[in-house]
């Protein structure tokens, strides 16, 4: 998986993910990217899932772990451009209600204000 971090208005950190978030191939990388941002004091994080091709239970677990890490530090973690199958995977485990999900990047960034 490839991760790119860019900063938007208000200091919102947008993490663009590309590829797979599966066991042994992206799950740990996601955790490390988010932990790095949290340790750097970044509190508002938006994960862009548009180019995520596959996710498994390990990847879902990492997403949940990232959410908890950011929230415990007083920050917010939200999701952008959730592909339908990842939406389904989050829905069946009732996690979809945990995350704020946006289809528009400007709206998502503005929601942190």
């Amino acid at each position: 998986m490839k991760t790119t971090v860019r900063e938007a208005a208000g200091g919102v950190q947008i993490v663009d993910l590309k590829g797979k978030i599966t066991i042994g191939a992206g799950d740990v990388q996601l955790r490390e990217t988010i932990n790095h941002l949290v340790e750097a004091g970044k509190k508002n994080i938006l994960i862009n899932m548009h180019d995520v091709t596959t996710i498994d239970s390990s990847g879902i677990g990492e997403l949940v772990g990232c959410y908890t890490s950011v929230t415990n530090k007083g920050g917010k973690l939200k999701l952008l451009h959730l592909p339908p199958k990842i939406n389904d995977v989050l829905t069946v485990t009732q996690l979809i209600t945990v995350f704020d999900v946006y289809e528009s990047e400007p709206e998502a960034v503005a929601s942190f204000a």
């Binding site: 066991i23 042994g24 498994d56 239970s57 949940v64 772990g65 389904d88 995977v89 069946v92």
Partner: protein, 153 residues
């Protein structure tokens, strides 16, 4: 929907895999080939392959503890339009009754424990059994003649 013959043309696919996560995709690829000709939509195939992924990941991580000296034994076949996936590890086994419910509020934010739930969600039946001599076997079945999952559902 036209159904292929009562058994896969090639017979069962049997593999013995080293306990590496990289092997999951190869197995998924072969399972995808096995499903060709069953007029399944992309959605249905995707969820079957995800269940296979979860079963193999479970065997590699929790069963064999990623010990490269231990193997994961995989068998896949279609008989009388029933897809059967048999996954056996060489670990110490576990009690399926002790697997936590990922939907329970107290487990909602746990970072693990969803794999078996996904297998049960996407397949018709998931059976667990301890294997003589050690290890755990998971058998996943899916009736391929029961129609496709709706797109986007």
């Amino acid at each position: 929907m036209s159904l292929p013959s009562s058994s896969s043309e090639t017979g069962p696919i049997r593999m013995s895999l080293s306990s590496r996560f990289e092997n999951i995709e190869m197995a998924q690829h072969l399972c995808g080939k096995l499903l060709e000709g069953w007029d399944l939509n992309e959605e249905t195939t995707h969820w079957i392959l995800m269940a296979l992924r979860e079963g193999l990941a479970n065997a590699i991580k929790h069963g064999n503890d990623q010990d490269l000296a231990k193997r994961v034994h995989l068998e896949m076949d279609v008989k009388n339009h029933i897809l059967l996936i048999r996954i056996r590890d060489e670990g110490t086994g576990f009690d399926p009754g002790e697997v936590v419910d990922p939907l329970a509020p107290e487990n909602r934010f746990k970072t693990s424990g969803r794999g078996i739930f996904y297998m049960k969600t996407f397949m018709d039946e998931v059976r667990f059994s301890r294997v003589d001599g050690g290890g755990m076997e998971i058998v996943l079945t899916k009736d391929l003649a029961q129609g496709n999952q709706k797109e986007g559902s």
